[in-house]
């Protein structure tokens, strides 16, 4: 067993943010999510947090652990020494709902604008025509929280939506390439990135949005050159 002091942001819109500290003892083989659940179950049923899968696939449990974007279900208790204080705060750059919960609508709106539902053909189970999984990305929003451009440009597409567009262009399967390029090539698309690189570092699912944004830029440049060459020949 390990005893930690969880220092958790409490409050919400219209209620001032305060930190409340809960002392909780949990098995050191578990994760921070288990500790938060234990606090909720045994000390404070009013605590707001989100989770479902407990194994880094639903993408719901993203928070900032000691300032850093992490999935609570992927943050081992064993990382912290006995008696340590661990600060938990909601993600940045999303509207705050309360305590550790944010509204992920900005991310979902962007994925919808790209028409994100995407699944490899060989992954479709018999009878299902539509998939909703985008390869590696679990749409947790950690990268959106870590990116300063998302926090300052309200129309910036953001790391994971751009990584999504890259996957669609890489394997279009009948997608409208023109409109995908219009999104990626927008002033608030791939060109807006400043290579702050935090998206790559916080992504729990190996997506590497920065690499995808660079890929999109190269793609757009080469496509533009081809179009120019075509226009000259005519």
């Amino acid at each position: 067993m390990r005893t930690l002091n969880l220092r958790i942001v409490r409050g919400g819109p219209g209620r001032p943010a305060t930190y409340q500290t809960y002392q909780v003892s949990v098995d050191e083989h578990l994760n921070i999510l288990d500790a938060v659940q234990k606090v909720w179950a045994t000390q404070d049923p009013t605590l707001l947090f989100r989770h479902a899968c407990h194994h880094a696939s639903c993408g719901l449990c993203g928070v900032r652990v000691n300032g850093r974007e992490r999935l609570m279900c992927l943050t081992p208790i064993a990382e912290f020494p006995e008696g340590a204080t661990v600060t938990l705060e909601p993600l940045r750059n999303f509207p705050w709902v309360g305590d550790l919960v944010v509204d992920v609508k900005p991310l979902m709106d962007r994925m919808a604008a790209i028409q994100a539902p995407y699944v490899r053909k060989d992954e479709l189970t018999a009878g299902s025509e539509e998939g909703t999984r985008f390869e590696d990305c679990i749409e947790c929003g950690l990268c959106m929280s870590a990116c300063p451009v998302v926090g300052s440009d309200s129309a910036y597409l953001g790391p994971s939506p751009l990584a999504m567009i890259k996957r669609l262009l890489e394997e279009p399967r009948g997608r409208d390439i023109q409109s995908l390029c219009a999104l990626a090539g927008d002033a608030h698309g791939a060109w807006r990135c400043h290579s702050v690189m935090e998206c790559v570092e916080v992504c729990p699912s190996n997506v590497d949005p920065s690499q995808a944004i660079g890929w999109l830029r190269r793609y757009l440049i080469l496509r533009g050159r081809r179009q120019l060459a075509g226009a000259e020949r005519r």
Binding site: N93, P95, A113, V196, E201, G214
Partner: protein, 141 residues
């Protein structure tokens, strides 16, 4: 309120936020690592270099005021405080240029997994070359 060329979704809460809240998103260092440090230093040195460009032109304009004015400036330039200023300037130029190469590579999707190593490389190389340059300045003085 940001304008957008195509029909991109807009984050209402960011659009509604005051300009200083949005500007603060750039300098919120809480929980950040190398990538962010590299970026902040890039911005500070970039703005510093623009400032220096004008300072440099102002100083050069003393040439137009004759030999005495220029010699007086050269005497000032030999002071330890001025050498310290030179060191900051040289470091800023080197870091901005070297990290600029890093940003160009990363911006084209090259080396993203090595970005932290590339940052420390640019940072340490800038310090080493600054030290060499300062030594040369002191030996000439």
């Amino acid at each position: 309120m940001d304008r957008t060329l195509s029909s991109l979704p807009v984050s209402e809460h960011v659009a509604r936020a005051s300009w200083w809240r949005r500007a603060a998103a750039w300098v919120d260092l809480h929980g950040r690592r190398e990538g962010w440090l590299a970026f902040i230093l890039m911005r500070v040195t970039g703005i510093g270099l623009v400032f220096y460009l004008f300072l440099h032109l102002t100083v050069l304009s003393t040439l137009a005021r004759g030999r005495q004015a220029w010699d007086a400036f050269i005497a000032l330039a030999r002071s330890p405080l001025f050498v310290a200023f030179d060191a900051v300037l040289i470091f800023g130029m080197l870091y901005h240029g070297l990290n600029g190469l890093r940003v160009i590579l990363l911006g084209l999707g090259v080396g993203s997994r090595r970005q932290a190593v590339l940052f420390w490389g640019a940072f340490v190389l800038s310090i080493v070359l600054t030290a060499v340059a300062v030594r040369m300045i002191l030996m000439m003085g």
